[in-house]
């Protein structure tokens, strides 16, 4: 069996950043396995700009952002295999992979970094009633068809869901000459970034209808119209509010789901909220030596944070390979809990003895909060209380924990992040 110190599953932004940081941390033997025919992942089809404002202090397109990392992978001569599908990972870190050229083979790794990304929630999972004709796409599939394959799905578009890809595609389809009639969003708030609503809808006069959903799809062979209706606060359509839109395309942007089939095969403990693995402060999963980062761990809205998180995962995986397991049973491990409006945290535990001086804890809120406070409690003691003008489910939040504030509190059991009105 071939062996590598670190095998990275996925050559998108997370996998690339993890690889580069693992190399910088001293690991020579690294292999990236990528299922597509080039590195870069989903960034390759994101040809709009706005990437890299945090990381590079400039506005790059998706492929440009990806290339900043691909360049480093090439310079560092990090090995990668394209067109390669990982079929299985065991808890003993045996990775089974397959490709046209290399056939079916197994690799023994000392550490594995999961960076498989996420997928879009399909129509089927939304239970939208009506016919099942051609012309219904998830926004990302349409993005690939337009930006990579060079084909237009249609000319008259309705979009359900206001996730970022849907918003980006509203603008993209408009620029390609299509008419985007409306974006309907089930929730009373958008699932996307504020800046995308402004730049992709408002600037083009595309209406966004909050608390609306599609209640019927017409067209036996090809979609010909949809009906949208307002929903009440339980999400049920309100009779009498129906509006019919003729269209030849329906795009869906109704949420992203981390792609964790392999994580499940490896027996990794998963979070029911994020649909990604539960991780420690080192981004290690419940299986020794398997780390996770990027959208497979939890869905991010900015690639900059993916890169940052993945670099940490690469660094920690390198440390794991070089130093072996350092955790001791006597270490002080504390659970991080999300309550009162905060839905989850990544990581979900912290080992105070092993943590870096600073630990970024990322989380999302479950509803829109205005002029509220993000608070951090060490058991009952509040140590952080910061006012935020607006908190929304579409925008990931973070707090930074300082090791020096946690050390010496031997009875500390739980760190809680909550949203407070005052």
């Amino acid at each position: 069996m071939i062996t590598y110190d670190i095998v990275i599953i996925g050559g998108g932004p997370a996998g690339l950043a993890a690889a580069v940081s693992a190399r910088k941390a001293g690991i020579q033997s690294i292999l990236i396995l990528e299922r597509d025919h080039e590195l870069g992942g989903i960034l390759n089809q994101c040809i709009h700009n706005g990437f890299g404002l945090h990381t590079f202090k400039e506005e790059l397109t998706g492929p440009e952002y990806a290339y900043r990392f691909i360049e480093q992978v090439l310079e560092e001569k990090i090995e990668y295999r394209l067109n390669t599908m990982v079929m299985d990972i065991t808890e003993d870190l045996i990775v089974t992979a397959m490709s046209r050229i290399d056939g079916l083979y197994q690799i023994q790794a000392k550490a594995v970094i999961l960076a498989m990304g996420c997928r879009e929630r399909p129509r089927g999972a939304l239970n939208i009633p009506g016919f099942r004709p051609a012309g219904i796409f998830s926004a990302g599939t349409a993005q690939r068809l337009v930006n990579i394959e060079g084909y237009m799905p249609g000319r008259e578009v309705v979009i359900l869901g206001s996730g970022d890809i849907g918003l980006i595609m509203a603008r993209r389809m408009t620029l390609e000459g299509a008419i985007v009639k409306v974006v309907a969003e089930l929730m009373p708030y958008s699932g996307g970034l504020k800046r995308n609503i402004v730049q992709c809808l408002d600037d083009y006069g595309i209406p966004l209808k909050l608390s609306h959903t599609v209640v019927d799809i017409e067209g036996k062979e090809h979609i010909s119209a949809v009906t949208i209706a307002e929903v009440d606060n339980t999400g049920k359509p309100i009779p009498g509010t129906e509006e019919r839109y003729t269209c030849d395309t329906l795009l869906l942007s109704c949420g992203l789901i981390p792609e964790n089939e392999l994580s499940n095969k490896a027996g990794i403990k998963m979070s029911r909220i994020t649909n990604g693995p539960e991780v420690k402060e080192s981004l290690e999963t419940s299986v020794d030596g398997i780390f996770a980062c990027g959208n497979v761990l939890h869905v991010h809205d900015l690639v900059d944070y993916v890169s940052e998180e993945a670099a940490k995962a690469g660094e920690n995986a390198a440390k794991y390979v070089l130093e072996g397991r350092q955790d001791k049973d006597t270490d002080h491990v504390v659970t991080i809990k999300a309550t009162d409006g905060a839905r989850y945290t990544v990581p979900s535990t912290v080992n105070i003895d092993r943590m870096d001086d600073l630990l970024t804890v990322r989380f999302r809120v479950g509803a829109v909060y205005k002029n509220s406070f993000v608070s951090v409690y060490l058991d009952d003691e509040r140590i952080h209380h910061a006012k935020k003008r607006i908190l929304a489910p579409g925008e990931m939040e973070q707090v930074i924990l300082q090791k020096k504030k946690l050390q010496g509190k031997e009875d500390l059991k739980t760190i809680t992040i909550k949203i407070e009105a005052e």
Binding site: R35, N83, M85, M87, T96, M98, S99, R100, I101, D102, G103, L104, Y105, R119, E120, P122, R123, G124, A125, N127, P129, G130, F131, R132, P133, A134, G135, F137, S138, G140, T141, R144, L145, V146, I148, E149, G150, Y151, M152, P153, G154, R155, E176, V215, D216, I217, K220, E221, H222, P237, D248, E259, E261, N264
Partner: protein, 483 residues
């Protein structure tokens, strides 16, 4: 001129075609869809029923029990995924317990083997996720689950290999007999003539029948909504779980599928539109409420798709399989609603025998009885799979991530007899696009393969024939901006 024309390439028409392909005769199947298995046959519960439902002595009962019997051998001969997982009819009201006995007696009279009545404890032991309210159950071990697409496709492929011609996108518009009793079928693709016509037109069988007979029949499309759940929860029940039947049918079942998903459905709503296979919010809500009554903790968050199918319901709730009285040499296979899928092999056998006698057909010497399905690399050992990829690298290229379907399988689906020409055609043959992402990732790639292998321009590739084109045009004009 053909000896026999069969109208419809659904599971009934394909089964009849396969049975008739044993004989020396010129046979043609006319199908209005772009592929086999595009109507009722593609959207149903995929259950091989035991046969205790249909009235004693009915054609339905006979065909059901015989079809069930034939399925093991047929599945082996034609390489069809099939498993006898057993069914349970669950009683949740004490006062309705007698109903189980009625069903049991009917089953015995119909010739169903191994039926047993279970008490509450036995039922819960066999199926721990049954409702707390379970009072008892009828257990039918001979009930099974099958891939409805492959059953249909395999019979059609085998018929084609034995010389039966198939004409797709060919809709019969009118039928008249000439003075010699020869049938002239007018279609959108020209005229066809035949000595015998077999009507296997599903929900449209009444329209076809009424073209030749004064004794009109009426087929009501009875719509049934279904939800299909992720393979992650496919083991929620092991058996096919039915409620006790009502006059609208067998009710909402919960069952594993032969591919490992969980299926919930169908509802039953009589409609007029013969192509009205749209789901409705009311239907899905009804479904969820009904299924929950017999099986607890249904993991409905794991729905990956919902769909609706149309049963071809005839007013007498009986299969009509006979020569039409006032139209000699015209044979109906009409009113083939549930258990039509189960009955298909038996209907084929029955009609085959009928035609053999009527036309004094002689058997071919070189009839091919077996068909090899599309190779499933997931069933191979690691070494065999590695060897396969070495020989045929396309099997190493995964196209559909969710179901792990390789390019090799898709190429096979396209290039075998009656090969796939659309995304749905590929999907029904290989399962590419049937998984949890519902073709989000693989559809552009399957389109590329169809384009490359069949030379169909990208703009003309369809989801399922007709006007179901996936993309409209190039983004930057005809040549995509290239000079």
């Amino acid at each position: 001129m053909y000896d026999i024309i069969i109208i419809g390439a659904g599971v009934t028409g394909s089964s009849v075609a396969r049975e008739l392909s044993r004989y020396n005769a010129n046979i043609c199947v006319l199908e209005k869809g772009e592929d086999v298995c595009t109507g009722t046959s593609k959207a149903n519960s995929a259950i091989v029923h035991a046969g205790f439902d249909a009235a004693e002595g009915s054609m339905m009962a006979k065909m059901n029990v015989r079809g069930n019997e034939m399925m093991t051998q047929l599945a082996e001969d034609l390489d069809i995924p099939f498993k006898r997982n057993g069914a349970m009819v669950v009683c949740i009201h004490k006062e309705a317990l007698d109903g189980l006995k009625t069903l049991y007696d009917r089953g015995i009279a119909n010739g169903v083997k191994e039926l047993r009545i279970l008490n509450r404890e036995e039922a819960l032991e066999m199926e721990p996720n049954l409702s707390e309210n379970v009072q008892g159950a009828l257990y039918a071990p001979t009930s099974g689950i099958i891939c409805p697409f492959i059953l249909n496709i395999a019979m059609a492929e085998n018929a084609a290999e034995n010389g039966v011609e198939f004409r797709f996108n060919t809709q019969v518009e009118d039928i008249k007999a000439d003075a010699d009793g020869i049938w002239h079928l007018r279609t959108n693709n020209g005229e066809y003539t035949a000595k015998y016509v077999i009507n296997a037109a599903g929900v449209h069988a009444d329209i076809i029948h009424n073209m030749v007979s004064e004794n009109k029949i009426h087929i009501t499309p009875r719509r049934g909504d279904y939800c299909l759940l992720d393979k992650e929860v496919g083991g929620h029940v092991k058996h096919t779980i039915f409620p006790q039947p009502t006059n609208l049918g067998k009710g909402v079942l919960v069952s594993p599928t032969v591919h490992g998903n969980l299926i919930v459905g169908p509802t039953a709503v009589d409609i007029e539109d013969k192509e009205g296979n749209n789901t409705t919010a009311a239907g899905i809500n009804d479904l969820i409420a009904k299924a929950g009554a017999h099986v607890r903790d249904l993991p409905l968050r794991k729905v990956i798709t919902s769909f609706a199918g149309l049963r071809a319901h005839e007013a007498h709730h009986e299969f009509i399989i006979k020569e039409v009285e006032d139209a000699p040499h015209f044979i109906d296979c009409a009113g083939i609603e549930s258990p039509g899928l189960t009955s298909a092999p038996a209907i084929g056998e029955y009609v085959g025998q009928m035609m053999k006698e009527k036309m004094e057909l002689t058997e071919k010497e070189n009839w091919i009885s077996k068909r090899k399905g599309i190779l499933n690399p997931q069933e191979l050992s690691f070494e065999d799979r590695a060897e396969l990829i070495k020989e045929k690298p396309a099997y190493g290229n995964i196209i559909c991530r969710c179901e792990s379907i390789s390019e090799g399988e898709i190429l096979d689906a396209i290039h075998r007899p009656l090969g796939a020409r659309s995304l749905d055609g590929v999907k029904r043959r290989t399962r590419a696009g049937m998984g949890r992402c519902q073709a989000g990732f693989c559809s552009p790639r399957v389109m590329e393969i169809l384009n490359r292998e069949l030379g169909i321009p990208m703009e003309e590739i369809t989801k399922s024939g007709g006007r179901s084109n996936i993309v409209l045009e190039r983004t930057k004009g005809k040549n995509g901006g290239e000079a």
